[in-house]
């Protein structure tokens, strides 16, 4: 047998590249299967990377500290005992491994995502305010930390939120700052801790209940709807329920049907709830702060695939965003694209593509689904006379259906084409890579819908 290339491993469902943080072996070391070779920093964490076979480390192909090393790049050569590096590399001088150091930089430059679209001016941000690049993950954490500093009654509870620092690292650092009384690891008992949160809220505290993902909130949905959403009404206004249910919503990557579902339309259906599904980091922060201060129960839908995306966030002491106010991300004259959450990504990409085809799209981020700012949508459609909605959820009884109905009732005379809804496909999410790609919304589908309503 000849030398085996050890490849940069994929260490999480969403990892495409990583940093070779530390080599724990050197050339010439004998290793056994299971020995740790290196520490690799992924998009979420620092992971130990183990040898899968016995052998001798022949050559380290990527230096310690290299960033942006693409998954599957050869990072070392593993030799059989007694074999020499020369002999090993002779038969297969893999071109990819000859220049490992520059390669990662290249790939990171090439894959550097186009900078996040610039957010439109926000009247709430005074001119001259410093803007900081912040990931959605950090923005959510900052919002919770600020509200916890401000109000002693605010606490965070959920699975792995404390010692593990959050399954998706959203609550990083909160245990350190606020201690175990206010940052609480729960058993895996969603129905129990959601109900417990409701009770604590009735008693005047302000719980933030994290669901590891909203797929698991289905275990607890009775408390979200029957206990949290309806009690103010049933008590004749005596018993508000100031609670936030938050967590990742929607499809992640290749985690199949039970772990990939968008609940926007489900919760938006329920009177008594407020529902937010922010897209940008600034909105995530401002809306979460408002959610925590609200006396209403709030369902706050995040997205795992957005956690690592950076946007500008104003460096203000107290930046809140009101519920029920959409944000116009891009002005246009030919068609209105309405979306929210990760759907905004496809809407904005589509708007770019449409601009290249001579179609000017106005892009509206609803930001909150209940209350929903339909007035902004109507106003836009009065200008463009056309509308396409974009969302990840299923087509039947979708948010898009609702907007279509509102436009039909209130802007019928302005419409020059039927409103089209671009949605996820009407199937449970498949696991296979090719099927999953087809199940999800694409920017191309948005472009096609926009062209269809523009009759172009």
């Amino acid at each position: 047998m000849m030398a085996t290339e050890i490849l940069m491993p994929a260490l999480s469902p969403t990892m495409e590249e990583g940093k070779l943080a530390k080599w724990l072996v050197k050339e010439g070391d004998k290793v056994a299967a299971g020995d740790i070779l290196a520490e690799i920093e992924t998009d979420k964490a620092v992971m130990e990377f183990e040898a899968v076979e016995d052998g001798v480390i022949g050559k380290l192909l990527v230096p310690e500290g290299a960033e942006g090393v693409a998954v599957s790049t050869p990072i070392a050569l593993l030799l059989e005992e007694g074999e020499s590096v020369d002999a090993a590399s002779a038969p297969a001088p893999a071109p990819a491994s000859t220049a490992p150091a520059p390669a990662p930089q290249e790939s990171s430059a090439a894959s550097a995502a186009p900078a996040a679209p610039e957010a439109p001016d926000d009247p709430q941000i005074p001119p001259g305010t410093e803007m900081r690049q912040t990931t959605v993950r950090e923005a959510l954490r900052d919002a919770m930390a600020e509200e916890m500093r401000r109000d002693e009654g605010v606490f965070l509870m959920g699975e792995e939120v404390a010692q593990y620092q959050g399954a998706y690292k959203v609550s990083q650092g909160l245990l350190d700052e606020f201690g175990a009384r206010r940052v609480i690891d729960t058993p895996i008992t969603e129905m129990g801790f959601a109900g417990l949160g409701v009770g604590a809220a009735f008693a005047g505290l302000r719980p933030v209940v994290e669901f590891m993902t909203f797929n698991f909130a289905m275990q607890a949905i009775d408390h979200i709807i029957n206990s949290a959403a309806k009690t103010l009404y049933m008590s004749g206004g005596q018993m508000p329920c100031p609670i936030v249910f938050r967590g990742a919503n929607g499809a992640a990557a290749r985690v199949a049907a039970q772990h990939s579902q968008d609940y926007a339309a489900w919760y938006a259906h329920v009177p008594g709830l407020w529902v937010a599904q922010p897209y940008s980091a600034a909105d995530a922060k401002g809306l979460l702060k408002s959610a925590i201060r609200s006396d209403n129960p709030v369902v706050f839908l995040e997205n795992e695939l957005m956690y690592g995306e950076a946007f500008e966030v104003p460096a203000l002491d107290d930046y809140t965003i009101p519920f029920g106010k959409a944000r116009i991300w891009r002005e246009g004259t030919d068609v209105t694209l309405v979306s929210f959450g990760i759907g905004m990504k496809w809407a904005l990409q589509a708007a770019d593509a449409l601009a290249g085809q001579g179609i000017s799209a106005e892009v509206i981020d609803l930001r909150t689904l209940r209350p929903m700012d339909t007035a902004t949508v109507i106003k836009s459609v009065q200008k463009t006379n056309r509308c396409v909605t974009v969302e990840e959820g299923w087509p039947v009884a979708s948010i898009g259906n609702h907007i279509s109905a509102v436009l039909m009732a209130e802007a019928f005379d302005w419409l020059d084409a039927p409103v089209l809804n671009v949605t996820g496909k009407d199937v449970p999410m498949p696991y296979a890579a090719n099927l999953e790609r087809h199940a999800l919304v694409t920017a191309q589908e948005v472009v096609e819908a926009a062209r269809a309503v523009a009759y172009r």
């Binding site: 490849l7 491993p9 994929a10 260490l11 999480s12 469902p13 990892m15 299967a33 299971g34 740790i36 992924t42 979420k44 964490a45 620092v46 992971m47 130990e48 899968v52 998954v71 599957s72 699975e159 792995e160 010692q163 593990y164 399954a167 690891d185 729960t186 058993p187 895996i188 008992t189 129905m191 129990g192 797929n215 698991f216 289905m218 275990q219 992640a252 990557a253 290749r254 985690v255 199949a256 049907a257 039970q258 772990h259 496909k425 199937v427 449970p428 498949p430 696991y431 296979a432 890579a433 090719n434 099927l435 087809h438 199940a439």
Partner: protein, 336 residues
């Protein structure tokens, strides 16, 4: 009925030990290969490996009969291999290919085999427990003497639906064996941080369900406890709880940095309690096999696993029409 901690006292044969060795090794090598394929990007999403826990499922399958059913969580590859599902079909499901048990649509966490009475593969923690109870309900309804092995984790043991199931199972004397695979962690949470009563085999007490704590790293102890449980349950005396004390060597899933325990803790279990090493020692000491014979088995298993990996890489992606199939049943059937 009393709750007990079992003391392993067993007799066995060379033949049985060799079979255990083979089956456990198959699971371990299969899982190591799955880990490699994940690292290469051929498997995506969540992938929860069973490495370390092999003795649990192998020991219990030894007491299963034709028609017995099994159901478990997302940590399901070992259960599928142990009940005789084809490693090729399992691996191809992991790579999301047409040759997989769910045609690539379910993935690592969601596989099923009607032929082998394997009812999944469930991604929602605890959800398989009432479903397994329902499988047992069907056996009782039909009046046969089959049992259902309902596996769940120490973390799942805190879900409310587990106790709703316990109550119904005892109330209606359902033929179900609840197997709590206590590998001591639920993701990053140690049992003692999540359970007010960490002795999980006592969790049926309030319902009058007998429970036993078993060394889940000792395949013979597992087999014996399984035998006692199955006998009890088949006799129509209602459900039985087996708490298997076991350990997972790898992270919770592929993306778990596992900072909640020390490297030494894992190494110590590996060195002192490994289920496969244990059987290996019994084989050698009892002169049921020599090193050469074991090497031969290792080689065979390696070949089976490589063949599965090969199949899983070569099998084509599912046809795009599969996106729209299997959402509804074609025929409207009634009860058999």
């Amino acid at each position: 009925m009393a709750k007990t901690k079992s003391t392993p006292k067993t007799n066995t044969s060379g033949e049985e030990l060799r079979a255990f060795y083979r089956q456990m090794l198959l699971i371990r090598r299969f899982e190591e290969k799955a880990g490699q394929l994940y690292g290469m990007g051929l498997i995506g999403g969540f992938c929860h490996l069973y490495i370390g826990q092999e003795a649990v499922v192998v020991g219990l399958e030894a007491v299963a009969r034709e028609g017995d059913k099994r159901i478990t969580s997302y940590r399901d590859h070992g259960h599928m291999l142990a009940c005789g599902m084809d490693p090729k079909g399992v691996m191809a499901e992991l790579t999301g290919r047409a040759g997989g048990y769910s045609k690539g649509k379910g993935g690592s966490m969601h596989m099923f085999s009607r032929e082998k009475d394997f009812y999944g593969g469930h991604g929602i923690v605890g959800a398989q427990v009432p479903i397994g109870t329902g499988l047992a309900f069907a056996d009782k309804y039909r009046g046969n003497d089959n049992v259902t092995f309902t596996y769940f984790g120490d973390g799942a043991a805190n879900q409310g639906q587990v106790y709703e199931s316990f109550n119904m199972a005892e109330l209606w004397q359902l033929p179900v064996i609840y197997v709590i695979e206590n590998n001591q962690y639920a993701m990053g949470t140690a049992v003692t941080r999540a359970s007010s009563t960490p002795e999980l085999y006592t969790r049926g007490e309030a319902f009058n369900i007998p429970g036993e704590q078993v060394d889940g790293m000792d395949v013979l102890a597992v087999r014996d406890a399984g035998r006692r449980a199955a006998e009890f349950v088949r006799a129509g005396k209602g459900p039985y709880i087996l708490e298997m004390k076991t350990y997972r060597y790898r992270g919770h899933s592929m993306s778990d940095p596992a900072k909640y325990r020390t490297r030494e803790e894992v190494q110590k279990v590996r060195a002192e309690r490994d289920a496969i090493d244990h059987v290996r020692d019994l084989l050698l000491q009892g002169k049921h096999a020599d090193e050469a014979a074991l090497k031969e088995i290792d080689k065979e298993i390696k070949a089976v696993v490589n063949e599965a990996a090969e199949f899983a890489r070569e099998s084509p992606e599912p046809d795009l029409s599969e996106l729209w199939s299997d959402i509804y049943a074609e025929a409207a059937g009634g009860a058999e």
